[in-house]
Each structure stands twice: as structure tokens, then as C-alpha cells.
């Protein structure tokens, strides 16, 4: 059951994306027109969050609670690495 929860979490983590699991996102934001960038970063990535809240949490709530600490580490790493990558941008 725990592995199923991890599989579902992995599926939605890629959509979010967690720890820049989609490296293209950073490259894309460099050159894309503003509407496209806005759509990608402002709308599409939130779909992963919605899926997590709508599907993963109600079905695998107990299992997700078991891996709370690694998830916290991943979340903090995502925040810090995202800010770091943004700070390194020149444009």
C-alpha cells in the first residue's frame, strides 16, 4: 500500500514539478512569450497540486502521513532550489 502511495505521489510530483523534476521548465521560462510562460507556471503546475489534494490525499492519507518527513525535506528542497535558480538568472 505504501508503494502505491509513493507511485501516485511520484506521478503528481512530476506534474507539480517537485525539485525541478522537469528541467525544461527553467529553460522554457527564458525564451517563451509571456502568455505561454504564465500558462505553464501559473496554471499547469497547479493541476498537479489539485490532483494531489483531490485524489492522492483522500485515498492514501495514512500512507502519506507515514512518509511525512521525506516529503517535508523534498518540499523545502523544492522551495530553496527554485529560489536559488531564480537568483542565478541574469534575465
Amino acid at each position: 500500500m505504501l508503494w502505491l502511495a509513493i507511485g501516485v505521489l511520484a506521478g503528481f510530483a512530476v506534474k507539480v514539478p517537485m525539485i525541478r523534476s522537469t528541467p525544461g521548465c527553467r529553460l522554457l521560462t527564458l525564451k517563451a512569450p509571456s502568455p505561454v510562460t504564465m500558462l505553464l507556471t501559473g496554471a499547469m503546475s497547479k493541476m498537479g497540486i489539485y490532483g494531489l489534494l483531490r485524489i492522492a490525499l483522500p485515498l492514501f492519507g495514512h500512507q502519506i502521513a507515514q512518509i511525512r518527513t521525506p516529503l517535508l525535506v523534498l518540499a523545502v528542497a523544492t522551495v530553496v532550489m527554485g529560489a536559488w535558480a531564480a537568483a542565478a538568472q541574469k534575465d
Partner: protein
């Protein structure tokens, strides 16, 4: 050429808004098959965007993006297939009810082990 690029970007933006609305409708529903088909096809639009407007290394980035998203979707599909094999249901409200009573975990463990 800039005019063409502007038209393409506007068309892609409209297509993206439409895809977003469809995503919300599917995620709000209770059926499983539309969700899986959506998660399987949704990365394709972003793949084209990376190929078109990516940075200097957009080719490898697009390939990496495709592999990661497909691996994630495959993991999601396998997990939900396992749930379906154990419970015989793909109705989200029903599965949520089973999970809240602890019955889902018992069914999955009985059918698939730990």
C-alpha cells in the same frame, strides 16, 4: 515572422486555457479513464513548447521532460491499476469511503500483499 510567432503564441495560449478547463472538469469528475488519458496526453503540449521556446539545450531538456513525465504517468497508472485489481472499483468517492474506513488498505494488502 514576429507576427507569425505572436499568432502561434496566442493560439497556444488559447489551447492551453481550454486544456486547463478540461483538466479541471476531468479532475472534478469521478471517472478514472479520462484522468489517465489526460495525464498521458497533457505533457505533449508542454513538450512542444519546450522544443519551440527552450533555451540553448532545449533538445535534451525536451527529451528529459518527456521521459520524466511519462515515468510519472506510468507510476500513477500502475498504482491505480493495482487499486482497481484489489477493489474492482474506479469510482473515486467509493474509494475515498473505503480509504476512510481502512477497508481499502485491507483489500489491497489481501490481494497484493504489503
Amino acid at each position: 515572422m514576429p507576427h507569425t510567432a505572436s499568432i502561434i503564441s496566442r493560439a497556444l495560449f488559447c489551447a492551453g486555457v481550454d486544456a486547463g478547463i478540461r483538466t479541471l472538469r476531468i479532475l472534478h469528475g469521478t471517472e478514472f479513464l479520462p484522468l489517465v488519458s489526460l495525464l498521458g496526453t497533457e505533457p505533449d503540449s508542454r513538450l512542444f513548447l519546450i522544443k519551440l521556446w527552450g533555451g540553448t539545450r532545449r533538445g535534451p531538456a525536451a527529451t528529459q521532460f518527456f521521459i520524466y513525465t511519462m515515468a510519472g504517468s506510468a507510476a500513477l497508472l500502475v498504482a491505480f491499476l493495482a487499486v482497481f485489481l484489489a477493489t474492482g472499483s474506479m469510482d473515486f468517492p467509493h474509494l475515498t469511503l473505503l480509504a476512510s474506513t481502512g477497508e481499502l488498505e485491507q483489500l489491497v494488502t489481501a490481494h497484493l500483499g504489503q
